[in-house]
């Protein structure tokens, strides 16, 4: 159990990268970026966990009770906002892309490239 969370983080990182490398669809690729990011969420929250501790919210809980680390949760919150916004931007780009080319294949663009 103890290493599971860390393992999940590493796994999400690799599997997300695999998805980005192999993607044939831009929307899929963008979602894969989110998968890689999910690995950072898992890692951040796992790093701050303490067995048997409460959430770091002391309403109704005596101050001094052992609580999990609030800092990583705050970092994670920031990270989530970053993720959402980047995804929104990427999807906006994809929408425009689709409108211009009629395709969602990330590799199809190669022919647009100038000839070396």
């Amino acid at each position: 159990m103890s290493i599971l969370a860390y393992g999940v983080a590493a796994w999400l990182l690799l599997v997300g990268l695999w998805g980005i490398v192999n993607s044939r669809n831009l929307v899929h690729q963008v979602i894969c970026v989110s998968v890689v990011q999910a690995s950072t969420y898992v890692l951040l929250v796992a790093v701050g966990y303490r067995s048997g501790a409460v959430a770091p919210v002391f309403s109704g809980v005596r101050v001094g009770t052992i609580a999990v680390d609030p800092v990583v949760q705050a970092l994670c919150l920031t990270d989530v906002v970053v993720g959402t916004t980047v995804t929104a931007l990427l999807l906006a780009l994809v929408v425009q892309w689709h409108k211009r080319t009629g395709s969602l294949d990330p590799d199809q663009v190669d022919d647009l490239d100038e000839q070396g």
């Binding site: 969370a5 590493a10 690799l14 966990y49 303490r50 309403s59 800092v71 990583v72 929408v95």
Partner: protein, 264 residues
Amino acid sequence: MTPRTRRLLFLASAPVLGIVVVAGLVGLPRFGHSTAQYGRVLNAVSVPERHITDVVTAVNFDYRGVDTMGEEFIFFAAVAGVVLLLGTQADESPGHVEDAATGRWVPPTSDAVRVLGLALVGPTVLFAIYVIAHGHLTPGGGFQGGVVLATAVLLVYLAGEYQHLHGLYPDRAIEGLEAGGAAAYVALGIAGLALSGSFLANWAPLGKLGHLNSAGIVPILNVVVGAEIAAGFVLLLSAFLHQTLILRRHVRPPAPVDPHRRQP
């Protein structure tokens, strides 16, 4: 590179990367035995010193308020970016959106969705206000509440029809609200500089622990952020929804009425 060589390159290097990362993770404290001093100290001091019971909010808005300012501007920049990217281009004709999509081939919103959507709007708004206002006491805050608030607007869109509501949509007001939210955060920070001697320092009374009006400027910051996030999400939603209307018009010409499309 062909997809094959690319895959080979990846497959050759990914295990190595995996080993490096896992070897690093092994050095972490055992799961459930976090010893981070920073977190422990903050857990101990934020209730007595700041009158904030939700320590995560204390970290975000008090101790590390600058991070949140940066975060807010990330959001702001992204919204501006999306609006910029999905703005109407020269080769598209705006303005006739309502005319072109009169719902002939979009399945009409069912009564169930209408009723449920409208019924949920009130509670959603209420819940959002609660989440924003109690950010310093219980889990929640401006970011979370703002998103919930934007959901209420989405519900209105769902219950009605976007192309009809689009005409009523107070474009400038929403933009102003979003920009105002971001600016107000900085203004509050400068107020801290002026009144307490450093940027984003607290200058409001801390109030009584556990009360709604406690924790100094943190609730104010939460409201400000909530306004920005809600307005920003509405802008995002409407930019994307607007785009679907343009897309439909360009890519799929209005198809003849097809009764089979009307199934839910």
